[in-house]
Symmetry: C2
């Protein structure tokens, strides 16, 4: 078992760090500062470290799951524009909830892992690669036979950033492999290559091959998801957890409970929530079928909220949801009945219609404006004032939400999408007679409300007979699977 | 069987019409003009007919399913304001697709139906009541023993309009009943009353009782839905139809096919799509269980579209959807893979993520604006221009949709919600071993794309083994059920 904060322990700094002598302090700062958006000054320092240093490999902060900040962002003259930081550098959000998580341990044979895996989805491209540990005493190039998996993500729309990063990784890995061959500690099979999965592995196949000039092994997305899940579940680390919805939010008790690690129990349902949602029934390693899915996924949440609120990053949207009250926009059973609908067991607090209060409230506001206009001709323009409130000029907290709060809209949409996925997952598990439901994918991001809503939905619909399982590395299942695909044997865990 | 256009045949004008001598022509105009929003002139004429006529009962156009236009709308001084017409009078839309449908025939005993039924949902209140046919020769008060059911709807938020209408109905019915008692053709049991269902029947119970001073019989919503469905299915009229998705849109062949009428086949799943969605498994008349539902229903469609587009009425929203292309906002399998994902049978045209292209396109536009600003300092403001496009000042076809077309957004949302309901309905039908799935509720409104999407979803998920059934009077199941609840015997059909 690795130490929980192995990546911050001096002397076991990962590959890349130890070799750039004299900058450990700065790099450590990157590691410890990654939970908040870097300040302008900080970014400038990082930029200069990356672009003017002796070693061109961008040093990825060592925390597994931490977002990679593309170096070229800092080569841009525009880094004085505060918008740039929030729009580009942190478009995917900087606050990852698992900053303290242990890295995942890999098989012993280093020479089989001189490659990088990429899972290119509709919105995000996820990379996974290996860094051997090197002690200070091992700087002679003799690697110790252990290391960690590292994780990073890019926007698929900026696939050029991802390719640029892979190019640097490969160049470094190649020179490393060549020096090993020279030193008789390596062989040709260790020459770097790329394993790729996700839709983009096919869409961008030619481009990646052409631009990087290395072998690109494509693997089926579902296969990789399952291989990644199986590996992580059996990894021996705190990876799989449940979420106890009986513990109220903000309680001192952690509603997350890590479950005993061990091989996955077949059959299971894997619900992968990325831009869209795939549901896969897994009967055994390598035997699976995609039973369904829904188009109402992360892409829907991000797309609609970017239209409806000023939020520009995923984390900003989730933060909005944290502060919102969906009852201001959702129609509850109590809003319709005035009470619970006991005969069929619907509590008054159940959401009858997501966003069901919006039209009603808009009409009311217009009517009030009309009434005002009727009483006093000088106030005729009040209706237009309400309409003008659409662009944030007044009348509501946030422009695009008009008279509705962005927070409330975000909360409502998060509930709607998570509940819906939970219900469909439950129904699919019923149809296919499955007990275990795992949720993965980049939508979840360890967000409390999302975990709570998905857990609650499974519990509610199954009347408590089923349980949702989550993973720390939820967004990287496919990438981990692609990484492991080189040899199909069961990965060794420490 | 009644004539298909009984309501426009002179001499069989329904109750209320024949008695207001000399205005038949005007009233016929109301009937025939109801598919388009009345012009200002037309509305003024109607207003004057309603408010200055000898008989105070507002003459509801005879077409079943036609929206009732509250008389008080025309007493408002503001009827010169074109907004009033679109915002209030036609908030629920005027273009009802079943204008030519036959009315539903009722049992012979007129004296048991001197009541009005109301189903008060989260967004709409639906009324159903009975009008006996009276020939010109029968104006002596001697009614013929047949008539039609009439349908109307109000916004629940304007429940006062609905109550006002019921008051007029009841006053008329009461004086009618009293004259019958005087004439020895009626008895006390024919004194008017109200049957009510839906959540609002409970929420507004005291208010309706107090304001109208008559008996209000409350009936359970699910029971009424089922009773209404059973009655309509067995009504002997063209009521139940299927939709053939193999026939392309705008084809000369009607994709709707009316199925042989007869008793409903048990068990069936009733999917009622109002503001929210309820799914009820019906084992036999009176034996049912609510098996599920979803909060993503009509209220979500109306609410989100009212925020995202300039549309203010349901029909306007549906008309937008007709003209839209969801591929401009939805992420398709082909957008991710560059091709189909054949291994798991996902065609490139399948929607992977609803609204999944929105964030991507927004970021691209911002990046272009930034790039432009970088090249030319004078163009620094271009980013702000893009942001300014949010309120419709430029940059896109419709302000609230920013650089996206309202039409595309409406189409995407219609697909998302209909597909989702279809999938959940299918999964529930599988879990509960049900063959027949009926769709009802005010969301559908006979809209082609909605019918097509729901039909396709059932066909797709069931691999062609199941079929969606629709009803002409889809929005009035609960109200019809409440109307029939007075006597629980099997209704007689002609």
């Amino acid at each position: 078992m690795p130490s929980d904060n192995a990546h911050t322990v001096p002397g076991v700094l990962p590959d890349g760090y130890a070799r750039v002598a004299g900058r450990d302090k700065l790099k450590a700062e990157i590691v410890s500062n990654h939970t908040s958006a870097p300040s302008k000054d900080h970014r400038s320092k990082v930029a200069s470290a990356f672009t003017h240093g002796a070693h061109p490999v961008p040093a990825i902060p060592a925390s597994a799951g931490l977002q990679f900040i593309p170096a070229d962002m800092f080569e841009n003259d525009d880094h004085n524009d505060p918008r740039l930081g929030s729009t580009y550098t942190h478009a995917l959000g900087s606050q990852y909830p698992y900053d303290e998580e242990p890295e995942v341990q890999l098989p012993h044979n280093l020479q089989s892992v001189s490659h990088i895996a990429v899972d290119i989805g509709g919105t995000l491209a996820k990379v996974v690669y290996f860094s051997p540990y090197r002690s200070a005493a091992a700087q002679d190039g003799q690697a110790r036979d252990r290391g960690v998996l590292r994780f990073g993500r890019f926007e698929t729309d900026k696939i050029e950033d991802c390719i640029k990063f892979m190019r640097r990784f490969l160049a470094d890995a190649k020179s490393d492999a060549e020096s090993r061959v020279r030193d008789w500690v390596g062989n040709e099979s260790a020459m770097p290559y790329i394993t790729a999965t996700g839709g983009g592995a096919f869409k961008y196949y030619e481009r990646i091959r052409r631009e990087l000039g290395v072998e690109v092994l494509q693997w089926d997305e579902m296969e990789c998801l399952i291989k990644g899940l199986d590996y992580l579940v059996a990894s021996g680390t705190d990876e799989v957890f449940t979420y106890n919805t009986d513990i109220p939010p903000h309680s001192s008790t952690d509603p997350k409970r890590y479950v005993n690690s061990g091989p996955a129990t077949y059959p299971y349902l894997l619900v992968n929530i990325g831009s869209g949602v795939s549901m896969v029934k897994v009967m055994s390693p390598g035997k699976y079928v995609r039973v369904g899915g829904t188009s109402l996924g992360g892409g829907t949440f991000w797309g609609l909220l970017s239209l409806l609120t000023g939020a520009r990053t995923f984390d900003e949207m989730l933060a909005l949801a944290d502060d919102g009250d969906n009852r201001n926009v959702d129609m509850l059973v109590g809003d319709i009945y005035g009470t619970s609908y006991n005969k069929i067991g619907l509590d008054s607090s159940v959401i009858a219609s997501s966003f069901g209060k919006v039209l009603k409230k808009k009409m009311e506001a217009e009517k009030r404006a009309e009434d005002g206009a009727n009483r006093d001709p000088r106030r005729r323009s009040s209706l237009m004032q309400i309409e003008g409130a659409q662009d944030g000029a007044g009348g509501g907290d946030v422009g695009d939400g008009r008279m509705f709060k962005s927070e409330d809209i975000a909360r409502s949409l998060l509930y709607a999408i998570s509940n819906n996925i939970g219900q469909i997952a439950y129904l699919q598990s019923e149809k296919h007679d499955i007990e275990h439901i795992y949720f993965g994918g980049s939508f979840i991001r360890g967000h409390e409300q999302t975990l709570r809503t998905l857990s609650f939905a499974i519990k509610f619909w199954s009347k408590g007979s089923k349980q949702a399982y989550f993973l720390r590395h939820e967004g990287y299942l496919g990438a981990v699977g692609a990484f492991l695909k080189r040899d199909d044997g069961q990965p060794v865990t420490q």
